[in-house]
């Protein structure tokens, strides 16, 4: 089945004093993929940047650079895109192989294994901590089919960790999340990465959106959606080289046609929706994020 969405993602910064110069980077353009087609996309920035450009980064994501040099107290970055998402088709045989066989270091026979090695290593926000290694070991039992092992890990994180926006901050570490057993999707995704990489599997951080369904009988509330993050794991296939299984521990499911993929990288730091540097005397800034994923 094909789903068609219009995604609106608006980030607004307000400052208590003039900002004379503001440089930013945005990852807001969804990727064109075998299971996702970008019909249209546009990023509008207010005030209008004096300079902007678009580039493809190391991981193939589209990244937008901008600089606003007219003094402003409010900066808004609005990404608007339309995408078609198809239900993913998985290679059952590949998912049935023992998980050990999905470690790129063990698979010199697979053409892109050398590239996948990048995602077996620790990254700035995903250190390979002993706690994560130990936690994952219960799911990654010897010889277990990789699809089953990953699903089991996803189930356990979903069951044993509480979704709690107050439990963590942007500076929380994997160890903090393991300690409090609570966090948000970004924490669960990065915990999953640490678990899998510490066993030699290649796993990437995926940033995007999840279309939500309103409770029965209720209207869909516009703007109540949020950005989302999950993990994708390298699974070497028979003929096609490595494929990737996307698992969402926050919602305890494999990614499906409700998931809009924007960008991926080693961790959140590679693909933040918006980041920037401002030059100002302002002391305070407030941030508002409005996301809407509307079925079309």
């Amino acid at each position: 089945m094909t789903q068609h969405y219009r995604v609106s993602h608006r980030t607004t910064y307000s400052y208590d004093d003039d900002v004379s110069d503001s440089l930013g980077i945005a990852y807001l353009v969804p990727r064109d993929l075998a299971w996702q087609k970008v019909v249209s996309q546009e990023i509008s920035i207010d005030p209008e940047p004096g300079d902007r450009s678009s580039d493809v980064d190391y991981y193939g994501n589209t990244v937008t650079y901008f600089q606003v040099t007219e003094p402003h107290r409010v900066l808004s970055i609005h990404g608007l895109s339309e995408v078609e998402v198809f239900a993913p088709v998985y290679d059952e045989a590949a998912l049935a192989q023992p998980w050990e066989q999905a470690r790129p270091a063990e698979r010199p026979d697979v053409p892109d294994a050398w590239q996948a090695l990048d995602l077996t290593l620790p990254s700035p926000l995903v250190p390979l901590v002993p706690g994560a290694h130990e936690y994952a070991a219960a799911s990654l039992t010897p010889g277990r089919p990789v699809g089953e092992a990953l699903t089991d890990l996803m189930h356990r994180i979903h069951a044993e960790f509480t979704y709690d926006k107050t439990a963590t901050t942007v500076t929380s570490t994997i160890d903090d999340v393991l300690g409090t057993r609570a966090g948000v999707c970004q924490d669960f995704a990065q915990l999953t990465l640490s678990c899998l990489r510490s066993h030699g599997l290649a796993a990437r951080y995926v940033s995007g959106y999840l279309a939500t369904t309103p409770p029965p009988g209720k209207e869909r509330i516009v703007g109540a959606d949020a950005t989302h993050a999950w993990a994708a794991v390298w699974i070497p296939g028979e003929s096609t080289g490595g494929g990737w299984l996307a698992i969402d521990p926050t919602n305890d499911q494999w990614a499906n046609d409700r998931y809009v993929t924007v960008a991926w990288g080693r961790d959140y730091g590679d693909v933040p929706p918006v980041k920037g540097v401002i030059f100002t005397e302002a002391k305070k800034s407030t941030l508002r994020v409005e996301v809407d994923v509307a079925p079309v």
């Binding site: 050398w114 948000v184 030059f279």
Partner: protein, 828 residues
């Protein structure tokens, strides 16, 4: 016996006791000077006669000369520890000498190696064939912090990312050179090498002349033209800058030296800004495009937008500008990946693949623990090898050292560790307390892309070690095979054609020059006060109730009002405290330290005579610390004053650019403030005719106006005359009126002045205020106090301070500090 003969005897008869003197020779060590048969190495042939005649005593004298020259040039090095102060650069007088035959294979090896590193860089940031073919294990690169993904995009590709590299080498027992490390991020040392040469050629002139060695200057010319040619193609007349992390950085001297010898401005991150996808330098209210950045800031710190977001050392947006090709950064931002020691085991094969030739210069034997075979060696021999992380400069565990928990650390993240054989080093003589003693020596070589190839500097920077630590640097002499061989093997380039005048001053530099002026004046004025007070103390300290004693007390109060009260009745203690205590606000030591800091920040703007003058001041301070006699206070203060005054001679020769105008403005602001405060402390209270006369005379002396006054008033000292001379006389260079008139001229010369800018308005008010002054009225006392004078001085100090602030705001306002936004939480 002469020094070299004694050295030869020493190295050929090694002491057998293991705990002999520090220079004890290890069997099988290559000696750089003495061959095993006791003769001198070939490089020494031409100068053997002179060299052999040097005695220990002469060498000690030469060593003293070296120290003095380095101090005069203000050559420093700041150890990388937190909070370290700059230390004098250390240079051993005895050069490391290599013959043309010895040098030639090394030179070929260096050129090949850097060409290989360039090719490696192109591959790692482009097609990555070495990784896909497994010639370099991918995790070596992917797991290294120097591999910058923002520079690894198709948009960032260039075919010559490596323009300048350094190679650290040691020499084994067979006399063969082995590479210890490659430096590609932002190699330092070439400025120190040049400075070493400058000093050694002066202290050993005969040897230098006879040796027939390669001069260094052509290498600098080549470096300069390489940087200019590195500019983006569409940029005629390119602007090149040297980006420094600041005057507190480890090798600040080296950076400033390179900038000033190449004639490029030395800038800091805050001097640059991003506009329209390009990098610009702030120059007085306008922006000037920058085309090439020789960066001495590590890549991770050079862009707060895409790299370390907490860094203010770089330019936010720099990676974007580089990718768009609007600016060229040297070396490229991704070059740090080459410093990874885990690459060393794979270089030889990479050379076969990339250059299709065998690697000439071997690297120190290295094992990467990320490789199963390498890991086994690392773990088996962990205590006997040197263990390092792949991206830390420091050794984790030295050879022969047992480091608890090391094995576990390596096993926990094997790809982060390498182990290396200890580098075999040759030895060279260094001048010590008891003559020449052998010390281990390393060589840092520098290689430059010049034209289409790579050209090593014929020479370099050597270091000798004591107790495993660097003890001093050495000049490196490569002797020409024929006397008329081209220096550096390059035809003399055209006299340095200016790509662009290095005239552009950024606001930060102008601000430092302004403070240079203020601090030098502050030190000068207080030194004059101390000298006068000290003379009074010599005569009257034991007669406090005499007229002279009462006047002395007033001067001591004036000192206290300027530099804080000292808790002592002993006059000399007070003088010493004000002269020496580094943290005393307003004191001489503090002003001089601040003066030196300002000077260091604008080193490339100042003549080297500045350091000479400051060196004299330092020596006077040293004497004062060493000798506690009272007369030493006058002696040292006098010499400090001479040193500070010499700075005026130095700055008199500066270009009349905005920097000079602000330096002079700083002096004038400070002079009038100091004068007002001196009058405030001495003239407001009436103390009777005799004491007042004594005090006023002292004030005239301190203000360098006593001769004029005597001529004009025939020795008749009254406050009215004093005030007339010090406040209103337009021809007296020490007067307030003079200062205000000159300040007007300096301001008018500034690009930011409009005729009605705030500093100009405030200055006009000050001049009106002064014009309205009636000195007769000021001199009138009501009871014990001269209230009109008091009021006038208070208002003047306040307005002058506001004026100084306004000058700063208009002419060198710092841009707002960058802040990082973003990092919105992702949540569902």
């Amino acid at each position: 016996m002469t020094a070299l003969r004694a050295y030869a005897a020493r190295v050929n008869q090694p002491t057998l006791t293991p705990d002999g003197p520090s220079g004890t020779v290890l069997a099988g060590t290559y000696d750089e000077v003495i061959a095993p048969d006791g003769t001198l190495r070939p490089g020494w042939a031409g100068i053997a006669e002179n060299a052999v005649q040097l005695t220990d005593e002469e060498l000690r004298r030469v060593r003293g000369d070296v120290e003095r020259f380095l101090a005069d040039d203000g050559v420093t090095y700041t150890p990388a520890r937190d909070g370290s102060d700059a230390e004098p650069w250390r240079l051993d007088p005895f050069p490391l000498i290599l013959s043309a035959e010895e040098w030639s294979p090394l030179e070929t090896g260096l050129a090949q190696r850097v060409e290989l590193l360039n090719a490696l860089l192109v591959d790692l940031y482009g097609p990555q064939t070495l990784l896909s073919r497994g010639i370099v294990p991918p995790a070596v690169v992917f797991g290294h912090s120097g591999f910058l993904r923002v520079a690894a995009r198709a948009s960032a590709r260039t075919d010559r990312p490596l323009l300048f590299a350094a190679t650290d080498l040691g020499r084994n027992a067979d006399g063969d050179w082995v590479v210890a490390a490659d430096r590609a991020q932002a190699p330092s040392g070439v400025g120190y090498a040049m400075e070493n040469r400058r000093v050694i050629s002066r202290v050993l002139p005969d040897l230098y002349r006879r040796a027939g060695l390669h001069r260094m200057a052509p290498f600098f010319q080549a470096l300069r033209s390489t940087l200019i040619e590195a500019a983006p193609e569409d940029r005629p007349n390119p602007r090149v800058v040297v980006l420094s992390p600041g005057s507190h950085s480890e090798t600040a001297y080296d950076q400033a030296f390179v900038a000033s010898s190449l004639g490029f401005p030395l800038v800091e991150g805050s001097d640059l800004t991003m506009r329209d996808g390009a990098v610009w330098m702030r120059v007085f209210g306008r922006l000037e495009r920058v085309d090439v950045i020789l960066r001495r800031v590590d890549a991770a710190w050079s862009d707060a937008l895409e790299l370390r977001k907490d860094s203010q050392l770089g330019v936010a947006g720099l990676s974007e500008a580089v990718r768009r090709g609007t600016v060229r950064v040297v070396n490229g931002l991704g070059a740090g990946v080459l410093e990874n020691p885990a690459l060393l085991p794979y270089l030889s094969q990479a050379c076969e693949v990339l250059l299709d030739e065998p690697l000439r210069l071997p690297s120190v034997q290295t094992w990467w623990a990320g490789d199963p075979v390498g890991r086994e060696v690392v773990l088996d021999r962990i205590d006997e090898l040197v263990v390092r992380t792949i991206d830390g400069a420091d050794v984790v565990s030295a050879a022969g050292e047992q480091t608890p928990g090391l094995r576990e650390r390596v096993l926990a993240s094997p790809h982060r560790f390498v182990a290396q054989e200890p580098l075999a080093l040759s030895q060279a003589p260094a001048v010590g307390a008891d003559g020449l003693a052998p010390h281990p020596v390393t060589l840092r070589a520098f290689t430059l892309r010049h034209g289409s190839g790579y050209r090593p500097m014929v020479g370099g920077l050597a270091s000798v070690y004591a107790d495993g630590r660097p003890a001093a640097s050495k000049d490196v002499w490569v002797i020409k095979d024929v006397p008329d061989a081209l220096d550096q093997g390059v035809a003399e380039l055209l006299p340095m054609t200016h790509a662009r005048e290095p005239e552009a001053l950024v606001p930060r530099v102008v601000e430092d020059l302004f403070w240079f002026g203020r601090y030098s004046e502050r030190a000068e004025d207080l030194l004059r006060l101390i000298l006068t007070a000290h003379a009074g103390a010599q005569d009257f300290r034991s007669r406090p109730h005499s007229v002279g004693g009462a006047a002395l007390a007033v001067l001591m109060d004036a000192i206290a009002s300027l530099a804080g009260r000292v808790d002592s009745d002993d006059h000399d203690e007070v003088f010493r405290a004000v002269l020496l205590e580094p943290r005393r606000r307003g004191g001489v030591a503090q002003s001089l330290a601040s003066l030196r800091r300002s000077a260091q920040s604008v080193r490339d703007q100042l003549s080297s005579d500045t350091w000479h003058a400051l060196g004299d001041v330092d020596r006077a301070v040293g004497q004062l610390r060493a000798y506690r006699y009272s007369h030493q206070i006058a002696e040292s203060s006098g010499r400090m004053l001479t040193g500070v005054l010499a700075l005026q001679g130095v700055t008199a020769n500066m270009m009349r650019d905005p920097g000079w105008h602000m330096l002079e403005a700083g002096r004038l602001v400070e002079r009038s403030l100091q004068l007002a405060q001196l009058l405030r402390a001495t003239a407001v209270v009436r103390r009777g005719i005799d004491v007042d006369r004594e005090v006023h005379t002292a004030v005239l002396t301190i203000s360098e106006s006593v001769v004029t006054h005597r001529r004009r008033y025939r020795g008749y000292v009254r406050l009215r005359g004093v005030l007339d001379l010090l406040l209103l006389d337009p021809d007296n260079p020490r007067s307030v009126a003079f200062a205000l008139a000159r300040l007007g001229e300096h301001l008018a010369a500034m690009p930011g002045s409009t005729g009605s800018s705030r500093p100009e308005r405030l200055l006009a008010d000050l001049r009106d205020e002064l014009a309205a002054v009636d000195v007769a009225e000021l001199a009138v006392a009501e009871g014990e106090r001269r209230v009109h004078l008091e009021q006038f001085l208070d208002i003047f100090v306040d307005r002058m301070s506001r004026f100084a602030t306004a000058v700063g705001e208009v002419h060198f306002a710092a841009p707002p500090v960058p802040r990082v936004f973003g990092f919105a939480t992702v949540q569902e």
